[in-house]
Each structure stands twice: as C-alpha cells, then as structure tokens.
C-alpha cells in the first residue's frame, strides 16, 4: 500500500516535470522570433546575414532605428493611429454599451426584434463593394469616420455586455433608483455605467487593439497617404519593400549595401510597430481574462 502510494507520487512528479519542460520549450519557441527580431534590429546586417545573431547581437548599431525615426511616414502613422484609435474606441464602446444596456432591460418592447436586427448583420453583410459605395456616397472617404462607422455596432461585444448587465447588476437596484425618482437615463449614467466598469474595461481593450491593428479599412477608404495609419506605413516598408529616400539617405556603397540597410530598417520598424501593444498588454491581461468569464454565454 505504502509502496504503491510512493509510486503514484513519483509518476505524478515525472508527469509534472515533463509537462513543465514541454511548456518551457513551447514558450521559448513562441518568444524566440520576437527576440530574434529585437537582436537583429541592433546588429550589423552582414552579421545577421551570416547567421551570427542567433543568441546575442553582433556589432551593435542603432542605424536602423535612426533611419526609422527620421522617416516621416512612421511618425505621422503613429500620430494618425493614436487619433483613430482613441476616437474609434470612444465611439464604438459608446455604441456597444448603450445598445447592450437597452436590450438588457427586460421590459423593453421590441427587444427581441432589435436583437434579431443586429444578429443578422453578424452573418450577412453587403460585402466589400456595396459597402464601399455607400461609404463613398455618404462622403466619408478620407475621413476618420470611414474607419469607424462602416464597422457599425460590434454585435458580439453587445451580446457579451448584455449578458453582463443581465447577470451582474441586480434588478432591485434599478427598481430602487426608479422609486427614488431617477429617470431611466439617470439610472444608466449613475448606476449601470459605474457598475459595468469591468466589462467596460474589456470592451475598451479589445476595441483599441482592433483599431490599432486595422489596416484594411484604411487601405480602402483612406486614399491620401498623409492619412495612413501606422500599419499602412509599415506595409510600405515591410511588404512592399519601399524604403523611402529619407530612410536610405546618405548611402555610399552599391546595391548590396542598400539591400542590407533595407533589412535593418525592416527589423527596426517591426520593433517600433509592435512595442506599444506588447508593452501595454501584460498590464491589462487580468481584465480580459475576467472579461471572458463575465461574458461567457450561459447555456
């Protein structure tokens, strides 16, 4: 009996050890590409080419960053993206929360009809061109609103937030407020919104990430280069390999040299582009984990 128990314990330990070791390997595999980009961005491109920068940077240079920061399109892209993200998040989250709160009201007439009206848009849409034509007809091209309004109301988020309102805020609170003479709007601002902070945080985070990372909407609706968000500025460098004259700058040496510098610029711009989200995300991690729980649709 005793021996058996010991055996059981040790097999448990073996499993635990293997499990941890396996996950450690996975974590390293997942993190390595990002780490590699980071070292390559401060290494001499010839060393990267020769495969000497697997673990540590070699012949450290900040040339890539210098050129990226000199580049106007990146700086402008950053500012544009911040503007689009802040405004877009404000509008989108306001639409989500007002809709979710209203449809969570149990006594609201036509509640079901309104939900069906929204859910249809989750599965069926006009598609690229009809939407483009409407956006263009309503005069939104090249305006920040073309990035925000065509997305409409994020229905999935509405469902999550509605579930939260229904399950986490007791009906009695609303009734008490009504007895105290609070109007429905007053109750929304003074009672429902403050209590909905956790779900609000989740919505803000998800919406922000979506706006920050979006490029396709801007590609369709923003014709003017001066209005490109960061992701489109990165597209020119990373996908289309168009390092601009300002970036290449004073370059001696031939085509090979130019090629190497382009690679260095690419590494540096990846770091510059990815850093804001990667730094911000661990701080908000606990919110989105909670959000998944809060919004879990009940059976």
């Amino acid at each position: 009996m005793n021996r058996k128990k010991e055996n059981g314990l040790s097999s448990e330990k073996v499993f635990n050890f293997c499990n941890c070791a396996f996950l450690l390997v996975l974590v390293v595999i997942v993190a390595y590409p990002l780490y590699y980009v980071l070292i390559a961005s401060i290494s001499d491109p010839y060393e990267v080419y020769a495969g000497k920068t697997f673990i540590l940077p070699s012949k450290v240079t900040f040339e890539g960053y210098a050129r990226v920061f000199r580049e106007e399109s990146i700086a402008r892209g950053y500012l544009n993206s911040i503007y689009y993200t802040v405004l877009g998040t404000l509008v989108s989250v306001a639409l989500i929360i007002t809709t979710a709160y209203s449809v969570s009201k149990k006594t609201l007439p036509f509640k079901k009809t309104i939900m069906v009206f929204y859910v249809i848009t989750m599965y069926f849409g006009g598609g690229l061109i009809p939407t483009y034509l409407v956006v263009s007809r309503t005069g939104l091209l090249n305006s920040v609103w073309s990035l925000i309004l065509p997305g409409g109301v994020a229905v999935y988020n509405v469902i999550v937030a509605r579930t939260y309102f229904e399950n986490s805020i007791p009906e009695e609170l609303y009734e008490a407020a009504a007895i105290d003479g609070s109007s429905n709007l007053g109750t929304f601002f003074k009672i429902a919104l403050p209590l909905a902070k956790p779900i609000l945080a989740v919505m803000v985070i998800f919406t922000m990430v979506a706006y920050w990372n979006d490029w396709f909407t801007a590609l369709i609706y923003m014709g003017e280069k001066s209005k490109y968000p960061l992701q489109l500025a990165l597209r020119q460098i990373l996908i289309q390999s168009q390092a601009t004259a300002t970036m290449m700058g004073n370059m001696d040496g031939g085509y090979a040299e130019a090629n190497k510098i382009t690679e260095l610029i690419k590494f540096a711009s990846i770091v510059v582009g990815a850093v804001p989200m990667l730094i911000a995300y661990p701080f908000v991690q606990r919110y989105f984990e909670k959000g998944f729980m809060a919004g879990a649709v009940k059976g």
Binding site: A31, T98, T99, M277
Partner: protein, 317 residues
C-alpha cells in the same frame, strides 16, 4: 411570452397597451437610436445594394438604376479557368486551418491547467498570449523576412543544421504557402485560444480531482475522465463557430503573403474580390463573386448548425 414575463416582473401593475409601454421606455430607444441608424446605413443599405451583382453598375445610375444583366457576372466567374482553383484554395486553406489550429489550444489548455507552480503558469501564459497582440501586418512582415532566401532566419537555420544545401525561396513558393499560413496562425493564436478552455477548466470542482487522486488516478487519467468531459460543450460550440466561418478564411494574411508567384495556392475568393473590385473597379463582377462566397458560407452555417443540434441532443445538454 413577452407579456407573460411582464406580468411576472411587476405583477401588481395592470397590463398597459403596447404604445404606452413604448412611451414609458422612450429613453432606451434614444440610447438605441445611434446604433440602429449606423447599422441601417452601413449594414442594411449595402445588403440592399448587393443587387448590383445582377446589374451593370455605373456611378451615374447608382444601385437601383443600372441596367439589369441577370446572371452575366456569375457566368463570367464560372467561365474563368481560375474559378475552380480559387474555390478549392479557399476551402482547403480553411479546412486545413481548422484541422491544425483547432485541437492545439485544447491540448495546450489541458497541459497549462496541470502546472502546479503558479508563477511559472502565469509567466508562460503571458508569453503564449503575446503574439496575439501583434498586427497581421507585422506578422507578415516578419514572415517575409524570416522566409527570405537572402539571409532569412529559416534558411540560415536550415543551412546551419544541415537540412538544406542552398537557400530556398519559401515566400514565393506555392507549395509552402498553406504551411506558412497555418504555422504562423498557430504561433500567433494557439496561446490566445487557450483562454476560453482554461477559464472553463478553472471552474471544475477541485474536490473531483482530490477524490480521483485518492482513488489512485494519475494525471493523465484525470485529464481524460474529468477535464475533457468538462470541456466538451465548449469544444462543440467553438467547432460550430469555426465551421460556420469556413468561407471567411482570413483575407488579410492571405493578401499580405500573396506574391505573383504563389498565387496558385494563395489566391482565394476574398483576395480575388478585392483585386477585381478595388484595384480594377469591376464593381458588379466583384460583388457577384462575393455574393457567391456568402451564399456558400450561409449554406455551410445552416448545415453545420443542423448537424450539431442533432449531435448535441446525444452528447450534451
């Protein structure tokens, strides 16, 4: 139904007419109004505008005035020797994606859930979630650099380890496209995909595991008999959702990884719709192709829902 609920919540109040109910709730409709307006203008009017798939759209006559041409654009699409290839590419890319990316987060969640060292658990979760926050643009930029035959990481590593003799141009290779697409999806989203499973597992009653331990069940037996059954309802729902979106395979990555040389596998319906519509301004033709895609997707969605509702009678609820 609605009236019944109404009666339950405030039983003392006599039933009011619908109109009075609406007036009483006017503030809620004010809150709803902006969302409804935006949805009508930017979601429902475009749906109405799909009819340009059957017309020869021109800007002067607009959605409703352009000449009716019936199925002309659909015939043109199916007459194109590439159309079968595009449909095939779309379905295969999607199917393979689900096949590979679906099970991995489940296994990962089961393993992460077994870790006893809470600190290690937190840190590994944080790192595994991180790639999700990288934009598609940056991901594709990284892939293009890593896969480049000129000093790309994959080629350097391959040569250093002796797998390949000379650099391979992977980014332009049609046969490598799907592997690149799917492997990078796993890298980016496998960790993120575990969240829903881990949060389900965290609600499993701890005494179940304790009891199983006392009965001598080892870790693998406990995973098989306690954790997995707990996950099945969530797995089924997730599976329905992924199959329901079979035809909506990620346009963005396919487009950003597409080169003129790998189109044989990378050209999917969505990239073709974009190319024909936005780059060549063939509005009606592009809309027709897109409509075809949507219709196939809806048929799939309905079919999968039917199958699952039949299955679910047996397996859960």
């Amino acid at each position: 139904m609605k009236k019944g609920k109404q009666g339950n919540t405030n039983a003392a109040v006599p039933k009011e007419s619908l109109w009075k109910q609406v007036v009483k709730h006017w503030e809620f409709y004010v809150l709803l109004l902006p969302g409804i307006l935006v949805t009508i203008i930017y979601k429902y009017i475009p749906i109405y505008g799909i009819q340009i798939a059957f017309r020869d759209y021109n800007a002067v006559d607009g959605f409703f005035g352009s000449a009716w041409v019936g199925l002309k654009w659909f015939q043109r699409f199916f007459g194109n020797y590439n159309s079968v290839r595009m449909i095939r590419n779309t379905i295969l890319l999607s199917l393979y994606s689900i096949l590979w990316t679906f099970p991995i987060p489940i296994i990962l969640a089961l393993l992460i859930n077994q870790i006893r060292q809470k600190r290690f658990q937190r840190v590994s979760q944080t790192i595994l979630y991180a790639p999700h926050f990288i934009s598609v643009m940056i991901l594709c930029g990284m892939l293009r650099i890593f896969l480049s035959p000129y000093g790309g990481l994959i080629n350097i590593l391959g040569e250093a380890l002796g797998f390949i003799r000379e650099p391979v141009n992977l980014i332009d290779s049609a046969s490598a496209f799907r592997t690149i697409y799917i492997a990078s999806s796993i890298w980016q989203d496998a960790g993120w995909g575990t969240i829903i499973y881990i949060s389900t597992l965290s609600s499993v009653d701890a005494s179940l595991h304790e009891a199983a331990k006392v009965d001598g069940a080892n870790a693998i037996q406990r995973i098989m008999h306690i954790d997995i059954p707990e996950l099945i309802p969530v797995i089924v729902i997730q599976l329905i959702m992924s199959f329901g979106n079979l035809m909506n395979v990620g346009f963005e990555k396919a487009y950003l990884l597409q080169t003129s040389l790998n189109k044989e596998t990378s050209e999917i319906i969505a990239t073709y719709v974009y190319e024909q519509g936005m780059l060549k301004a063939m509005y009606s033709f592009s809309t027709a192709v897109s409509l075809f895609n949507t219709v196939v997707n809806i048929i799939l969605l309905v079919a999968v829902n039917k199958i699952c509702s039949k299955l679910s009678d047996v397996s859960f609820v």
